[in-house]
Symmetry: C2
Subunit: 300 residues, 2 copies
């Protein structure tokens, strides 16, 4: 077990890390929190990450996270870290943790100055453990207030869907509000299409069909988004990935959000418009919420 | 004067840094090359950089670099580092260096997990010194071969123009070719508009007018781009920032590229089409090349 306190101390060498530091961190298998400032992750956002929910000392939806990471590595041309290596490093790090967050961060590693990636990149992998954020206990049943953000989602077909490190659009969108009553902000593309929340995927329930934004030009295709589409299909609910506009959201029977940490969040209110979470397909929502927080290591 | 060798050794603590390491590096005024992996620069590309040409121990176009950095900090909501502080740290770092590159990197610093920026960010600043890349001696007069990239430029109106750390599109575009005969690749927006080179700005000479892509949705507005527009106006040359397409480039009398390190590069060939660098407005090109590499510290 890695000591969080010791590592906080190590991080403080180069600056005021303070309470922002993770509880535990491991870089390339070494107990350190430090990387060279010329790592391409910092220079260009040249890498990927996964945010994994930890329950009872094990990761939730681990194989989905690994699959998305592999997809992202393939897109960026970064060698995929082996599942065996990540599991071997993650197991002792999250052992004994009732609830928490494991962030897996992969960069292309160091390389010369300039955009050109090294021919033989030596990726750097960091595993960071954080406490699980606390949300109001009734948000799952009562639903949440959501707003529209002014900051538009960055668009690039080569980068859409994967969880890469170029996330300034999400940062600027999330900086737009401080009201603690607002749990999430929705982001649009420049042409007005809805992409999703700053940190979540959006689903729209028409009463008969489940719609979610097509993420071909912007956004991140979340693991719980994939889980939701899969469980919905299993329940015989028709699903569509498509072009959604604010007008479609206005006309919806209900809305909900998903991500790996929250699972499912019904929307109660969006920019002054009220929705009745009771009208959502709760059979599906319950199945998603349960599956999203079922933790287990794959059988070795 | 900071020892490059010593710092390479420090960098090697966390991984195989090898020849990728800068000659000298200073982080928040401290002789270290290491930052916590939970810095928001690495997590989200939440920061900015400048690439400054060093000649005779002094920076070229220093005030333009500072101005763009301040513009970028304003856009991202990151406190602007003072010119006095940056100068004070840069002076001893580049002293005695005949030629080199100073990379100034500013991040929002550390912060908790999640996109939301801290209310009181404590930015981190890193100054890195690299050797100046070597280009063929005749490229300035003979011109260079350039290609079109398949990777499209990322689009976001809030981020266009500034030199932020979300540069995966440039990385993927630069990874498209290894042929050393090709010096640069041009990137388009998804709608087919030309944005510029992966690491340079593009100018098109019609014979009477200087055109350069309007960077309202993508691209970086370079310091030498601004210098070129200013010098051209001074020489009575009409300039337009506008929507340029490959067809406009095909019809051009000539093309040239600019950036802070290369100054000016005439284009000799673009994807099989030949251009005669002799037809370019050389009075302007010479003035830009000279101004781009004139180094001096501001009078204290």
């Amino acid at each position: 077990m890695v000591s969080g306190t010791a590592l906080r101390g190590a991080g403080a060498v180069v600056g005021a890390a303070g309470e922002a530091a993770p509880l535990r961190v491991l870089i390339d298998g070494v107990q350190t929190g430090l990387v060279p400032v010329w790592d391409r992750g910092i220079g260009y956002g040249d890498g990927l990450f996964e945010t994994v929910l930890i329950r009872n000392g094990a990761p939730c939806q681990w194989s989905r996270h690994l699959a998305r990471l592999a997809l992202g590595c393939g897109r960026l041309g970064i060698p995929v870290p082996s599942a065996r290596c990540l599991e071997g490093e993650a197991r002792p790090l999250i052992e004994g943790l009732d609830a928490g967050v494991l962030k897996v961060l992969i960069t292309r590693g160091t390389g010369g100055r300039g955009y050109r990636p090294p021919a033989q990149p030596q990726p750097r992998r960091a595993l960071l453990v954080y406490p699980l954020p606390v949300w109001p206990p009734d948000c799952y049943t009562r639903g949440l207030s959501v707003r529209y953000c002014l900051t538009r989602a960055s668009e690039n077909r080569s980068l859409a869907g994967i969880k890469h490190l170029n996330r300034l659009d999400n940062v600027l969108a999330r900086a737009e509000w401080t009201d603690p009553e607002i749990a999430e902000g929705l982001m649009l593309r420049d042409d007005g299409q809805v992409v999703g929340g700053t940190m979540s995927n959006l689903f729209l329930w028409t009463g008969t069909t489940l719609d979610t934004p097509l993420l071909d030009r912007a956004g991140i295709a979340g693991t719980v988004r994939a889980l939701t589409l899969e469980l919905a299909a299993g329940l015989g609910i028709a699903c569509r990935e498509r072009d959604l506009r604010p007008a479609d959201l206005n006309a919806a029977r209900g809305l909900f959000l998903t991500n790996a940490l929250i699972g499912v969040w019904p929307v109660r209110r969006l920019d002054g418009r009220d929705y009745d979470p009771g009208l959502l397909p709760w059979g599906l929502l319950k199945a998603v919420a349960q599956a999203a927080q079922t933790a287990e290591w794959p059988t070795p």
